[in-house]
Symmetry: C2
Subunit: 542 residues, 2 copies
């Protein structure tokens, strides 16, 4: 096409085009609300001016050590002020933040440090024993900085060449950030806990981090000065970008080293917490709190959950306890949540179980995600919106990763056909809401019929005695596979295998019902996900 | 610098990079909330599905007429459903929306249509008489579509080749949008009422429109499903981008052809309006309403005002009446408001006049604006934040225009030194809040409309009896400001105030004409420049 009048003399320049980045969000909060409370951690209180100054000192100190554009800075830490400072200070000097999952084993951590080529590693003293093992086995080691959080009183020696407070003391609080040079520049590296093979390094860019950070504010209806409780680990997809979101509205970060019921209730009451996020296990801990641990909530508290659909009983109990639960969905590759179970007002009139069924659906795209669909991955045609036809959940948009670090093959496969292939299988309901049915490997094929393990688990979850259920395929001579359920019962509750199978038969097609029920503790990953792989192995051996 | 590991094999592709555009916002609202109310206009009710379908039909019908990338579609209309549809339908086909100020005179409108090369013109029947005059004088005319709003019962003939409803009836409700190809593509053209010479055509891009639309949602604390009353003309900077903002939270557009007290109170009460915007004149109209016209507000209503600082008495009365007033600031070149008087909670404890003084300051940048400062335009150094030193207010960021259409000289001047020069003079207070002190170009803002004092002076100068004329703003309770002319007559010549006002009325739009004429010697500097500052003081005292 020939250029039009709008294609002439109207180019980008510094005045009208700046790289999108979450770094401007803290700059603004510190400029407009310098004296407002930004961080609470035990008795510690930091204002936005202090938070920003310390982040700049960190950036400056890193830059003085030669850390800059495209260098990796790894950190293993609890949800602490230092972790928040890393989310700003590391990218300010052009480096890429690689937060490490504290629950991983040494070989996995060693792989990540080596693959990510970490130049600096910041270690919370709680994890110094673990990291000493990791570093011991490494041929070349990063520069190690110990972070000795006063709120941590447990064991652990310093293992680094510098101490965090000393390190940033050498930095300049007036440091002018050197990044990003382009909004496509990397800001963070997050390794997926791969079920097979090596972890993959998911790379985020400044543009996406800004857009998802603001997307969270809009999705979570964050008004002025929200108070955010850090129940979600910041090492999970950069805390779903909330370290950046909270700056948008100059809110308060309430840090938390450990998810414990009494501490959570105390902080919610004392700090006036308005929002928190977490896997279903966090809801379980809140709900299983004793009377002595509980405190009245100061107001309606919004809870954002992901990773697994919240069961009806949990939703009802959370509502009773004063929490409004929103179901989110996303992957490491989508900066955390990019899909929300956006609630329709008329659903409030429905019975509780119908509301729970609706809330268990993953939902619709964030406004910051341009495309979400369920497709046949071979033809790339969307499945019909019939709530039945399975396909692969696909994402497209500005809150999808740059790709996998040093892994062009996996990157190309993930982006085949111009969509990000999530690996999650699901359906699209007539109203357009997406619901996960299973990961492809979690589908049970029995007598030629596909069975969604999630659907069977949902039926089991409705049984009052069931605390946790995981269903996998068990090899079967006749049927190929049959559903095998692993079940944890609630404390004090009892149920037999026969009872649970009969329960399912009242709710599911017969072929979908478990043939086997095993009562046992269910193995979970470091991120709290059920290790279906291990269960499949067990089911094979039965 | 040499490429790092993050610079390899991590490129943009369709899966992870999509052009930012506000068009996705309506698509999402229509997909997620198809049956929710989107538009109220008199007895008319339209859902999001209908709003989206009609916008697509408009886009499709335009495309079928050959309208596409970089073509201009002009519209002159009141705040109606068609105007909202234009904000989506026109850019969907790649065209650029040029909304025309209904209060302009024929020569200005003719200039805009010709300079913008409008290919299509949509005319609300209320303005068909005006536009018939405009078109009569044009050598080449756009394709004209009449919009006959059932809510308009006044005079006016159809003047076009097609009627709006017939036109879109020929479009396809399943039309797939053809734009933007790039987020830098133009989305809108807004002419400023230039102070000297011809109006300048400010060009917006899709990226900025998306970012400011979301920025409004965050700044205005829009929760789920806001109800927005259209008291602000959509022809002003595309209604400050609110036609796009409301889609983010699937809110309701309450249309309004005329700003009248009883209608506003009725709609606020009946529709549960949560947000509205407008110049100070709109507040005046609300406050001057009779008891019979008033209705109790359904809840706290948020009012966003710009153009002139709200006076203390008005603020107090608005609070009394149940409105929370937020002061915004921006220019046509910044998509409307990009600066907000972000309120500090501790200010609530101050006396009313101190609060008013604080609220009269223009404030701080939106989170969506990357830079705001007050600078010496020669050195480009920021002025000290002392509340005293004057400088020019400068903007930098993604919500700054692409530039002026077909005007590289003005564009280059506006962007000199990598900042957008607003032409507004102001100071920076110690807390960083910006406050305008004066306008370098002597703009008078009357009823929310910019009036160039120079333009009025030019008209006066044409009168044979006038030797010298200087026009300044005179504070006015109803209009905010009105033009006040100081005139020196030629020796031996005579003229009355009435004569000179009538003279101007023959040459200028009515709202631009002086309301007051003072015959007096005009104070000048030693170099002969008119001391407008002194005249402004005199006008205040009249």
């Amino acid at each position: 096409m020939s250029p039009t009048i709008y294609d002439r003399d109207l180019d980008r320049n510094r005045a009208n085009h700046q790289p999108l980045t979450p770094l401007t969000l803290l700059e603004r909060a510190a400029a407009v609300f310098p004296d407002r409370l930004a961080i609470v951690h035990g008795p510690l209180r930091r204002t936005y001016a202090e938070f920003y100054a310390r982040s700049r000192k960190l950036a400056s100190a890193l830059a003085r050590r030669g850390v800059g554009h495209g260098d990796t800075v790894a950190v293993i830490a609890a949800n602490t002020p230092a972790m928040l400072e890393c989310h700003y200070g590391v990218p300010m000097c052009g480096a890429v933040l690689n937060t490490l999952n504290t629950r991983l084993d040494p070989p996995a951590l060693a792989f990540m440090l080596q693959h990510g080529e970490a130049k600096v590693l910041i270690v919370d003293r709680e994890f110094s024993g673990l990291m000493a093992q990791v570093l011991h086995a490494m041929p070349t080691r990063p520069y190690v900085i110990d972070y000795d959080d006063p709120e941590y009183a447990g064991p652990g020696e310093r293992i680094g060449q510098a101490e965090y407070e000393d390190f940033i003391a050498g930095g300049d609080a007036a440091y002018q950030r050197a990044a990003p040079r382009d909004e496509w520049d990397a800001i963070a590296l997050n390794y997926t806990s791969g079920t097979t093979g090596d972890p993959k390094g998911v790379v985020y860019h400044h543009r996406g981090a800004n857009l998802l950070a603001v997307g969270n504010v809009v999705t979570a209806d964050m008004g002025r000065h929200p108070v955010y409780l850090w129940t979600l680990p910041m090492f999970h997809c950069n805390g779903w970008c909330f370290p950046w979101s909270i700056s948008v509205k100059a809110g308060v970060h309430v840090c938390l080293r450990q998810v414990r019921a009494s501490t959570m209730y105390d902080l919610i009451a004392e700090q006036g917490v308005t929002h928190l996020c977490g896997a279903p296990i966090v809801m379980q801990i809140l709900l299983n709190a004793t009377e002595a641990e509980r405190r009245p909530l100061p107001h309606l508290v919004r809870f954002f959950t992901a990773a697994a659909p919240p069961p009806a009983a949990v939703l009802a109990a959370m509502r009773e306890a004063g929490f409004e639960v929103t179901h989110l969905y996303g992957l490491t590759e989508t900066y955390g949540p990019a899909v929300v179970n956006d609630w329709q007002e008329e659903w409030n009139a429905l019975p509780g179980d119908e509301q729970a069924a609706l809330k268990s659906r993953q939902g619709v795209r964030y406004h910051a995600l341009e495309g979400l669909d369920v497709m046949d991955p071979d033809t790339m045609h969307p499945v019909p919106a019939d709530g039945e036809t399975m396909g692969e959940v696909m994402f497209r948009g500005n809150v999808v990763m740059k790709g996998y670090l040093k892994n062009p093959t996996s990157t190309a496969a993930a982006f085949a056909g111009g969509w990000f292939h999530s690996g999650d299988l699901g359906v699209k309901h007539p109203d357009g809401y997406v619901q996960l049915r299973d990961r492809s490997k979690d589908i049970i094929i029995s007598g030629g019929e596909n069975i969604s393990s999630i659907e069977v688990e949902d039926a089991l979850f409705q049984h009052p005695a069931v605390a946790l259920a995981a269903v996998v395929a068990r090899p079967d001579e006749k049927w190929g596979e049959t559903p095998c359920a692993f079940v944890e019962l609630r404390p004090g509750a009892s149920a037999t295998a026969e009872e649970l199978i009969a329960w399912c038969q009242g709710r599911l097609a017969r072929y979908k019902c478990p043939r086997t029920v095993v009562f046992a503790e269910i193995p979970k990953t470091s991120t709290g996900k059920v290790q279906k792989y291990a269960l499949r192995e067990r089911a094979k051996g039965l």
